[in-house]
């Protein structure tokens, strides 16, 4: 009993610390990466290679004046950043970070090192919670009582509804092949067969495109489009309330990368590597982190390489491009499974 509680608490601690550490690191990577892509130097004054810059930024945000405009809807204005960061923080409990079928801590098996190993609807839980994140953005946009904010919030909700459908259909292909909603099973299926990105490449392309839209990243960051909407839904937010939105965006990015890796790139597994016990666990966690890091870099890479879509282009791509492609992928998986190819 107490062993289980201790292990769960420890896992939660690792997950929370991991996510909150990923944010400043990603901010640094983003700024240095942007500078690299644009042939600049980027922040290099604070600490070696400018590594301490995010810490200074955080201190600045903490001590900034927290302005609440007079005409906002107070309750919802305060609630919106809480929803955004809260939803972002609770999604990670169903993601398996490593092997560990044969490792125990305080007599409790560390199966998959996920916080909630018994939840057998892992994928659905993750999709359900990430779809709630839009409430933070929409409410921020509406409660700020500012037309730019409202436009950002409206765009965000329309975008989410359009892309969530394609995303879910793309995930369906993976779930059909696996025959389980548990993310641990998805990983072990890929370990025994082949990474899902190979037979379901179309599904992978649809999923990653929808993931960019769901995380509000360029080329789909229509919700905050600086050049037309000032800063979109968070125009009226300052200090730590703004930081909450900022952090939730980066945490969502890490979650999306982890989901891409788990669903399509074999999760923590690496072909040819079959270590057991603690070394196996540590290696698998390292493999997982490496894969996630690659996709995080991809997010940065794409952001500073592609221009923003126009709003109607975004909708056309979502409904006329991605949805048919995702459906095709689903049909292909069904046919392949019936013929016994998968």
């Amino acid at each position: 009993m107490w062993g289980e509680v201790a292990v769960t608490a420890l896992k939660l601690l690792v997950v929370a610390v991991g996510m909150l550490t990923a944010v400043p690191v990603m901010v640094w990577v983003e700024r240095r990466g942007a500078a690299f892509i644009q042939d600049r130097i980027g922040p290099n004054r604070v600490g070696p290679l400018g590594l301490f810059q995010p810490i200074i930024d955080a201190v600045k945000l903490f001590f900034k004046e927290d302005v609440t405009p007079a005409a906002v809807n107070r309750g919802l204005y305060f609630l919106a950043p809480m929803i955004a960061i809260g939803v972002a923080l609770v999604t990670w409990i169903v993601i398996p970070f490593g092997a560990g079928h044969d490792v125990t801590l305080f007599g409790v098996p560390l199966d998959g090192v996920m916080v909630a190993p018994d939840l057998n609807v892992g994928v659905l839980y993750l999709l359900a919670l990430s779809s709630l994140g839009v409430y933070g953005i929409v409410l921020a946009g509406w409660s700020s009582n500012n037309k730019y904010s409202l436009l950002g919030g409206l765009r965000s909700s329309a975008q989410l509804i359009s892309y969530e459908l394609s995303m879910t259909v793309a995930v369906l292909g993976v779930l059909m092949a696996t025959g389980s909603l548990h993310l641990g099973d998805v990983v072990s299926y890929q370990q025994q067969h082949v990474w899902n990105a190979v037979p379901q490449f179309v599904g992978f392309v649809v999923f990653i495109t929808a993931a960019f839209a769901e995380t509000n990243r360029l080329p789909f960051d229509l919700a905050e489009a600086e050049t037309e909407l000032v800063a979109g839904y968070h125009v009226e937010y300052s200090s730590m309330k703004f930081a909450a939105f900022f952090m939730s965006e980066y945490i969502n990015m890490v979650t999306a990368s982890a989901l891409i890796v788990t669903l399509f790139f074999g999760g923590w597994s690496l072909p040819g590597v079959n270590l057991t016990g603690w070394p196996g666990l540590l290696v698998s966690v390292a493999v997982f982190v490496a894969k996630v890091s690659f996709f995080l870099w991809l997010f940065v890479w794409v952001r500073w390489s592609l221009p923003r879509f126009r709003y109607d282009q975004l909708m056309t791509l979502g409904w006329k491009g991605l949805l048919p492609l995702a459906t095709l992928n689903l049909i292909w998986v069904a046919v392949a499974m019936t013929m016994g190819w998968l």
Binding site: L76, L119, N120, V121, L124, Y125, L127, A128, L129, S131, L132, V134, Y135, V138, L139, G141, W142, L150, G153, L154, S157, A158, L160, I161, E164, S180, L181
Partner: protein
């Protein structure tokens, strides 16, 4: 422990359902409905129906109510105004209806024997899927046709105004 969680979520669900129908601000109505659906999902999870709980949040709270919120915000629906001074008969009628509903609920609870939740079979998503495309296929398809009819009906109603 489960009982405490159940009573807490049930209480929140009831209060938020009341807010959903009584608050003047349409945005608050929609949000209260989100909270209600969330609490219902928690109740499903307490009964061991984790798939139903996740589907409830994914479909209702995550998609349909986002659409509601989108429409309410797009049309910028104003706060509801009272139609006039409430008449005494309204209060009496409301009280009587509430009493009837309460007595009916109590009678219903007394009539139905308390049942333990059926323990879901292992991999109950598979079991649910088999039921939906097996014995209940006709009802399942019928519901989708009904939704389609409602959709077409809404379109026809909108078209007529122009």
């Amino acid at each position: 422990m489960e009982l405490i969680v159940f009573y807490a979520t049930a209480a929140i669900a009831l209060v938020s359902a009341l807010v959903a129908v009584s608050h003047r601000n349409p945005i608050v109505n929609v949000l209260a409905l989100v909270v209600t659906f969330f609490c219902v999902a928690v109740c499903y999870a307490l009964l061991g129906a984790s798939f139903l709980a996740a589907a409830q949040i994914l479909v209702y709270a995550g998609a349909i109510l986002v659409l509601f919120l989108f429409v309410v915000m797009l049309l910028n629906a104003p706060e509801e105004q009272a139609a006039g001074e409430p008449r005494p008969v309204q209060g009496v009628a409301g009280f009587a209806l509430t009493a009837v509903a309460a007595i009916g609920g109590v009678l219903l609870l007394a009539a139905v024997p308390s049942a333990e939740p059926a323990s879901p079979p292992d991999g109950h998503v598979v079991a649910l899927g088999r039921l939906l495309v097996g014995p209940y296929l006709f009802a399942f398809e019928l519901i989708s046709v009904l939704l389609l009819a409602a959709l077409v009906g809404a379109l026809v109603l909108v078209k007529r105004k122009h």
